[in-house]
């Protein structure tokens, strides 16, 4: 360890631009050993860019990056390795596992331990297993990363960050696909590390986590540091206000009228996760499903949509019993599905916002079998305006939008298709506070129109904000039901754990 007593990491007047955007604008930033620093800001505020400068993944256009008071020696592609050598670990926002490699190899990616010149697979497996145990994970380290659920992948990445003896651990939205129990594990790991004088940078859109963990917070807005302040004294509203830069916050509107049953599920089983699920969904209702990581919520949605065959049980849509399940057939019955992983299964990155919107139903934007540019423009504009999607033009490739705006388009495509029943799997994952509230509003407004919504979320706090009713999935069955207005986050969490 160096004898340096100053900041572990520091940016001085760092500027980074991308074509068309100034992602960071003369930012000064520093973090001290043992400090847990939260970084807050809307989507696109520049949080991830700041982090990539610290980890050496990118170089600033101007300004300095210092680790333990010393600048990088290496330049370009070799920087990340130097940063790792100097004790920096990071969990990036985008998935950074190699799918066809084992967990153990992923844990040591790029820096595999060797014994007499050869990779030490055995040692790797043991150390990985130990690192995962510290986070309460019991996965086989030889398992391939591609076979893991999104949540397990994220846990593996977090375990990777705490391997060895780091000086600074950076976590960029580490809990975006985690449920409450896992979040607790992560919090504990962070606190233990901080006690060992490891500095932590923690990016999250979840305010309550930040309150539990962070000593101080840096709020970013439009590529600049708006303020750095101690968390203890600050009021949440003030922080949110700082992030938004004075914009008005809206609150979720009132509950809508519940109509007749549109979907009923009876005895759906799919071992080993689902043992017999019953649920009813009504017109105008937002039905939340809470559960722990891996409790089978995604699987349930996939079964309902006909993407996966259950071993037992039946599904009724209205009065009709589904005989031959199939995704396309469910779409025709008015179902829409927004998948859990936006990047892998949601967006077509190179296509524009417009085409990502009309993909679900070209029929509506055709004139005599020919796609009509004005019709596409009109249909997209309707969705974009209604959902407040922030995009320069309708044709802008969706990959260049912020996560929240991408998610709105993914929801919007089902509005375009006029779906009556929406199944949403983690629709607010990786989305900033402002966009989250907008998405809640959208969901409530859709329900108010008489649509039925099945809402899966691992962020317990948001369930009581949007749902009329919450079912708790535990041990493969719907263990409990909580009905608004008596939905309470703490009770739900307790119910999930069982």
């Amino acid at each position: 360890m160096s004898g340096h007593q100053g900041p572990v990491a520091e940016l001085r007047a760092a500027t980074r631009t991308y074509p068309g955007v100034v992602a960071l604008d003369r930012v000064d930033f520093s973090v001290m050993p043992g400090e847990v620093r939260a970084i807050l800001g809307k989507n696109g505020a520049g949080k991830s860019t700041l982090i990539r400068l610290l980890t050496g993944a990118e170089t600033p256009d101007s300004g300095d990056v210092l680790l333990d008071g010393r600048p990088f020696v290496e330049s370009g592609l070799r920087r990340t390795r130097e940063a790792a050598r100097r004790g920096l670990r990071a969990v990036y926002q985008e998935l950074s596992l190699v799918p066809d490699m084992s967990i153990a190899e992923n844990m040591f990616l790029g820096d595999w331990p060797r014994r007499s010149g050869m990779l030490d697979h055995h040692g790797m497996a043991e150390q990985s297993a130990a690192a995962m145990r510290r986070l309460g994970l019991t996965l086989d380290p030889r398992q391939l990363a591609s076979t893991l659920s999104p949540a397990s992948r994220q846990m593996v990445e977090i375990a990777r960050a705490f391997l060895g003896s780091p000086r600074l651990v950076i976590l960029d939205e580490p809990t975006s696909s985690l449920a409450a129990a896992e979040v607790d594990q992560v919090c504990e790991a962070v606190r233990n590390a901080a006690a060992d004088r490891v500095a932590i940078l923690y990016v999250s859109h979840r305010m309550n986590e930040i309150r539990r963990l962070a000593d101080s917070a840096t709020v970013m807005r439009d590529g600049r540091v708006a303020s750095t302040l101690p968390v203890a004294g600050a009021k949440t509203e003030d922080i949110v206000q700082m992030m938004l830069g004075g914009a008005e916050q809206t609150r979720a509107p009132h509950r809508s009228r519940i109509g007749k049953t549109v979907l009923s599920v009876r005895g759906i089983a799919s071992p080993p996760k689902l043992a017999g699920i019953d649920l009813d969904l009504h017109e105008g209702e937002v039905l939340g499903i809470a559960g722990l990581l891996g409790s089978g919520r995604t699987e349930l949605l996939e079964i309902i949509m006909g993407l996966r065959a259950p071993t037992a049980g039946e599904i009724h849509v209205g009065t009709e019993k589904i005989q031959k399940p199939g995704y396309k057939a469910m779409m025709r019955r008015g179902f829409g599905y927004t998948p859990e992983s936006r990047k892998e299964n949601g967006i077509v990155p190179l296509l524009g916002v417009d085409e990502n919107t009309v993909l679900t139903d070209f029929g509506r934007v055709q004139r005599r079998g020919i796609l009509s540019a004005p019709a596409i423009e009109l249909a997209t504009r309707a969705v974009v305006e209604r959902l407040h999607v922030k995009t320069a033009r309708m044709q802008t490739p969706i990959a260049t939008l912020s996560g929240g705006n991408q998610q709105k388009v993914v929801i919007g495509r089902w509005i375009h298709a006029q779906s009556r029943i929406l199944l949403m799997d983690e629709p607010t994952r990786g989305v900033d506070v402002e966009a989250k509230i907008q998405i809640y509003d959208i969901i409530r407004a859709l329900a108010a129109e008489g649509r039925a919504i099945l809402f899966v979320s691992s962020e317990i706090e948001e369930l009581d904000q949007v749902c009329d009713r919450v079912l708790v999935l535990r041990d493969g069955i719907m263990a409990e039901e909580h009905v608004a207005p008596a939905i309470d986050a703490e009770q739900l969490l307790a119910a999930c754990i069982g």
Binding site: L77, K328, P339, V348, L359
Partner: protein, 329 residues
């Protein structure tokens, strides 16, 4: 890679539509340079006659290249083009030799081409055999079959006025070039203005997402290969018109030229991105290089060297242009 990008931020805002076509503009510049150079050094290069030749040669690559663009945009590849063209020309020649009426023979060839293409598509889409392997199988099998059926000898048939007309010119333009341009229009239209065309881009861009939006990914994949087979059959008709016989050894290596034209045209081999206009310019580049070099009269072996260098240089310029315009690979 993400590192070391950025530069011309203001330019982007000024000319977004122009810069969005940096790729095509770069190719036009390359073609222009080739015209200037060959115009100066290759005798007869600029003659009307030779321009007609370029168009005729271009048609052989172009018609197949339109379909290949769709195939590659869909994230697949079809390397069976050359043998497919040869095989179908042989089959049509046999049908004509047996005195079947021309429309029947040609229709037979077109149906056969589509069916063979579709079979590769089924292997890919239903049985998840990688398309390289599925079409490699066709590549080997069709060439062998054509050679076996003909003993490697040309198959001749009675003179046929319509076929001669197809092999000839109309208003000074080769009929095959006219067919190529008409099909180009059709493909531009299909790729931009139809649900099918856009679905191809969606499937190539993210097949999972396309599936979850209700696009029949399997069908799209089968259809693009069927179209590729159909275009090979049309190329076979043009070849039959030009040569007057069915030749099992014809169109050898055509798949390389076709794929090179598509890739030079800026279509990404990883799918989801590409334009018909780019491919048109790619076809022009490849054809002009071959033609200009032959006219220049350098050793045919050196032609291969120069061709290799120019193809790489063209893509290199193109990549550099795209990078300046801020679009990243």
């Amino acid at each position: 890679m993400s590192a070391s990008t950025a530069s011309s931020i203001p330019a982007r805002r000024l000319l977004p539509s122009l810069l969005g076509h940096m790729n095509e503009i770069g190719l036009i510049a390359i073609v222009a340079i080739l015209y200037v150079v060959f115009g100066a050094i290759s005798p007869g290069f600029l003659s009307v006659n030779n321009q007609v030749n370029i168009l005729r040669d271009g048609a052989t690559i172009g018609i197949a290249a339109w379909a290949q663009t769709l195939v590659i945009v869909a994230g697949e590849i079809d390397i069976s083009v050359g043998p497919m063209v040869a095989f179908i020309s042989v089959i049509m020649a046999f049908l004509l030799k047996w005195h079947l009426p021309l429309p029947v023979a040609l229709a037979g060839g077109l149906v056969l081409g589509s069916a063979l293409g579709a079979s590769a598509g089924v292997l890919r889409a239903v049985f998840t055999v990688p398309s390289f392997v599925a079409t490699l199988g066709l590549w080997s099998a069709l060439r062998g079959l054509a050679l076996f059926m003909t003993n490697a000898l040309p198959i001749s048939f009675d003179d046929n006025d319509t076929l001669d007309w197809i092999g000839g010119n109309l208003l000074g333009l080769p009929v095959s070039a006219i067919v190529m341009f008409v099909l180009f229009g059709a493909f531009v239209f299909a790729s931009r203005k139809t649900a099918f065309g856009r679905s191809v881009y969606a499937v190539g861009g993210n097949a999972n997402a396309a599936h979850l939006c209700g696009i029949n990914v399997t069908r799209i994949r089968i259809v693009v290969f069927a179209i590729s087979g159909l275009m090979a059959a049309i190329t076979a008709i043009m070849l039959l018109g030009r040569l007057g016989t069915g030749n099992a050894g014809a169109a050898s290596g055509l798949e390389f030229d076709v794929i090179a034209a598509v890739v030079v045209g800026g279509t990404s081999l990883s799918g989801g991105r590409g334009s018909m206009l780019g491919t048109l310019l790619g076809v022009l580049t490849i054809t002009v290089i071959s033609d200009g070099l032959v006219l220049y009269g350098i050793n045919s072996f050196v032609q291969d060297v120069v061709r290799g260098v120019i193809i790489v240089a063209a893509v290199l310029l193109n990549v550099a242009a795209a990078r300046r315009s801020g679009r990243h690979g």
